[in-house]
């Protein structure tokens, strides 16, 4: 849920990166962190295991400039992708303003993508959200790898609703900012609509 603070003249919004384990959610945040000017970003927090798997969440606060004299601040979160962390995953969705679903393009990860997408819908419903009504974009990640599912097929399976979709290779940074920009625009447009 966005927070508009007239005293600090800030608009704060929460964006969550969701997707199956090892699909590149944390990598997306790392790239955003690395490529953002120091004055625009806060400290990135990763609550991860010793093997760098996300345990609870990653968090990156980002400032994107002013609108009508108000600073726009976006809090980017990732969820833990591994199936057995579902209880934690659900908690991160609370108060979400926009969602990026990161899908792993590799053939052998398609089942995991579908499972994660279904899980996301269920968890959103438990918070009283409907995916159709939330600002939502999808990223087909790891396009640089061999043996990836054709984009058309991924769209048919994972994006039947036709939300904005982006091809990415998050490890090299490709597609990361396009994805972020798209979800930020949708979040702000939704705020405007809700006003």
């Amino acid at each position: 849920m966005s927070f508009i603070n007239y005293s600090a003249r800030e608009i704060n919004c929460k964006i969550v990166y969701y997707g199956p384990g090892l699909c590149g959610k944390t990598t997306n945040l790392n790239i955003v962190y690395k490529k953002t000017r120091p004055e625009s970003k806060g400290k990135m927090i990763s609550l991860a295991t010793e093997t760098e798997r996300t345990l609870f969440f990653d968090f990156l606060p980002l400032s994107l400039g002013d609108i009508k004299g108000f600073k726009t601040r976006f809090h980017l979160y990732t969820v833990p992708g591994q199936i057995f962390y579902d209880a934690s995953r659900k908690l991160i969705l609370k108060g979400v303003d926009g969602i990026v679903f990161v899908a792993d393009s590799q053939v052998e990860r398609m089942d995991a993508n579908m499972e994660s997408l279904d899980n996301m819908k269920l968890n959103l419903e438990e918070h009283g959200y409907t995916l159709d009504k939330l600002p939502y974009v999808i990223q087909f990640n790891k396009r640089d790898l061999d043996d990836v599912v054709p984009v058309d097929e991924m769209r048919t399976v994972l994006n039947p609703g036709g939300v904005p979709q982006f091809e990415a290779s998050a490890a090299s940074g490709e597609g990361v900012f396009e994805t972020l920009k798209a979800v930020v625009k949708l979040v702000l447009a939704e705020l405007k609509k809700g006003a």
Partner: protein, 160 residues
């Protein structure tokens, strides 16, 4: 559908900051933070300059969320107070009005008993202020103009 935004006006912010500033003084604490359950910092008071308040807010909300999950597992609605004891500094976290989180950082100049006592009193006041904000947001005239005035160009301009 996303929920309505939490909107806080200047005078409400002043009121909240007054309450927690007084709390810091009366509890002999180092600092106090009021945080939304979604992890947004609402206000802070005291010696806050050395602490990354954005991180503090996000981690506190995560902490409360995880503890709330634990509470439900054992059949409790929530754990309304958490206390973390460090070598020098301690953190007292409490839920105010089921909606926001009050964080107090204190050292040996204070005590857990004093902090708990003062938090209880300030919590009641903060609860009332938060209820007022929520009631104002529910009322028809709460729709404010800022967001309506945002144009597509403004949004586009963020990325130029």
């Amino acid at each position: 559908m996303s929920q309505a935004s939490l909107v806080m006006f200047e005078e409400e912010s002043v009121e909240i900051t007054e309450i927690i500033t007084r709390l810091v003084k009366e509890a002999n604490a180092k600092s106090a933070y009021l945080v939304d359950k979604d992890g947004q910092l609402i206000s802070s008071a005291g010696e806050t300059q050395d602490i990354d308040s954005t991180s503090l807010a996000s981690l506190t909300a995560g902490n409360i969320a995880a503890t709330g999950g634990l509470a439900k597992l054992i059949g409790e609605q929530e754990f309304s107070i958490l206390f973390h004891e460090g070598e020098k500094d301690n953190i007292h976290i409490s839920i105010v009005g089921h909606r926001v989180i009050l964080v107090i950082i204190f050292d040996e100049r204070s005590s857990l008993g004093l902090v708990r006592l003062r938090v209880r009193k300030a919590g009641e006041e903060l609860g009332k202020t938060i209820q007022k904000i929520l009631a104002r947001m529910d009322s028809a005239d709460s729709k404010e103009n800022l967001l309506e005035e945002i144009t597509d160009d403004d949004i586009e301009g963020l990325f130029s």
